[in-house]
């Protein structure tokens, strides 16, 4: 037997789910009485969009040379100038990225291997919002910060999905990430 329970917390913009399974013939199994799950508490680490737009928080710019993620966070993502971005009304979209013809793709190989002149990348709402932030002015850190603020996430919560997403976009030629030299 199993009991499932779920609720959506609008304050945190999160969904909670509890599932309790037990090998039992009794139909009415109950969740443990001591179980409490707190929600509606936005962590202090979550910043507002205004704070994210305004600039750095108290953690400050590191001055020393401990092993750091700073070089990557300071890099700037640029959107591909040659791609076509088709936006849909529901906030999703498709990026059409022109492809360079590989040098080896000449007859007779090109008769066998088909070549597409462009690659289509479908993006959901979250993906489009991240791509819109890649304007060649904002650093990766800023993109993560704004995405976190918009979705009520902490910096670290947003860091992993946004970083992975930027990597996927880079692999597909939608953006390029340019590192900055140390000052």
């Amino acid at each position: 037997m199993r009991v499932d329970l779920a609720w959506q917390c609008p304050v945190e913009n999160r969904l909670y789910r509890i599932s309790y399974s037990k090998r039992s013939r009794v139909h009415d199994i109950r969740l443990p009485e001591t179980l409490t799950v707190h929600c509606c508490q936005v962590s202090q680490a979550v910043v507002s969009r205004e704070q994210a737009d305004a600039g750095r928080r108290k953690s400050g710019r590191p001055k020393e040379k401990f092993r750091s993620t700073e070089p990557f966070l300071r890099a700037v993502p640029y959107a591909n100038q040659d791609m076509d971005l088709n936006r849909k009304t529901d906030g999703t979209g498709t990026a059409v990225v022109p492809m360079a013809r590989p040098r080896y793709l000449v007859p007779p190989i090109s008769w066998i291997l088909p070549f597409g002149r462009s690659r289509r990348v479908s993006l959901d709402q979250a993906g489009m919002s991240v791509l819109d932030l890649c304007d060649g002015r904002r650093s990766v850190e800023k993109v993560i910060e704004i995405f976190a603020a918009d979705n009520k996430l902490t910096f670290r919560e947003a860091q992993l999905p946004v970083t992975l997403f930027l990597r996927q976009l880079t692999q597909r030629g939608v953006i390029a990430i340019v590192g900055k030299e140390n000052e």
Partner: protein
Amino acid sequence: MEDLDKTCWRGMEIAHPARWELAVASAAERPGECVFADRHYQRLAVKWKRVKYKPDISLLVQKFRHKLDKAEDIDLVTLEDLPEPWQGVLQTTHDGQLTQAMRAFEESRTVVEATLVWPGRRKPALEHQVLEGMAPRWEDGPVTRWRALGFDVALDKRFQLTRSTPHAGRIHWEFDADEKAYSPLIVERLSLAGGWMTVPLHTWMAESLPVGGKVLHQRQVLINGHRAPVSHLQAGRLDGPVADAGGPGVAVPG
């Protein structure tokens, strides 16, 4: 005085600035460990272990100091200004400073080791606050509190955390009270619900039933002021999928 956040992991309560977020948390069968990092650096590492004997912290610190003294380019100072009964040393390198402190909690027979990383200069006031806010909570009542990664769960001590999987946008904790009979209690938190949740909650729950699952009855309850559908079901497979109805994630098909 800085306003500190609290993390409770496997019976240990750790106070830390909110911008130091949990980066590593030890698994069930390992000695206790939590590592916190800010955006750029690791800032705090806490290790703890329950011991059978009464530990001599001075001796442990002395041994540690002796080991570090062999390394040449480290400037090492014994710290006298740590809150009682913490003992420790301060390492100064050309990159910054590191506080390494230890203490024993006699009533719970626990040894705790904390490493604080200070890029630039050490902040003694914050260091005091962090060290004083660290305490084992095994003996405090019948309920264990788990508070980490933005999740806050309290559950009686029979339940042990057997699995924790922090995916992007989804945190999944699995507790089990009985090792012999598989009876998992799964608590999950899925982020960005406003973005991907396009159907009513009860429909979404119905779509995520395990293989061969059959709903026996449903009702509504209020949890923290939110409406929550509860389904009692005859599970086809107890270890069947819990969430196949979609969830957060930034998908890039094509």
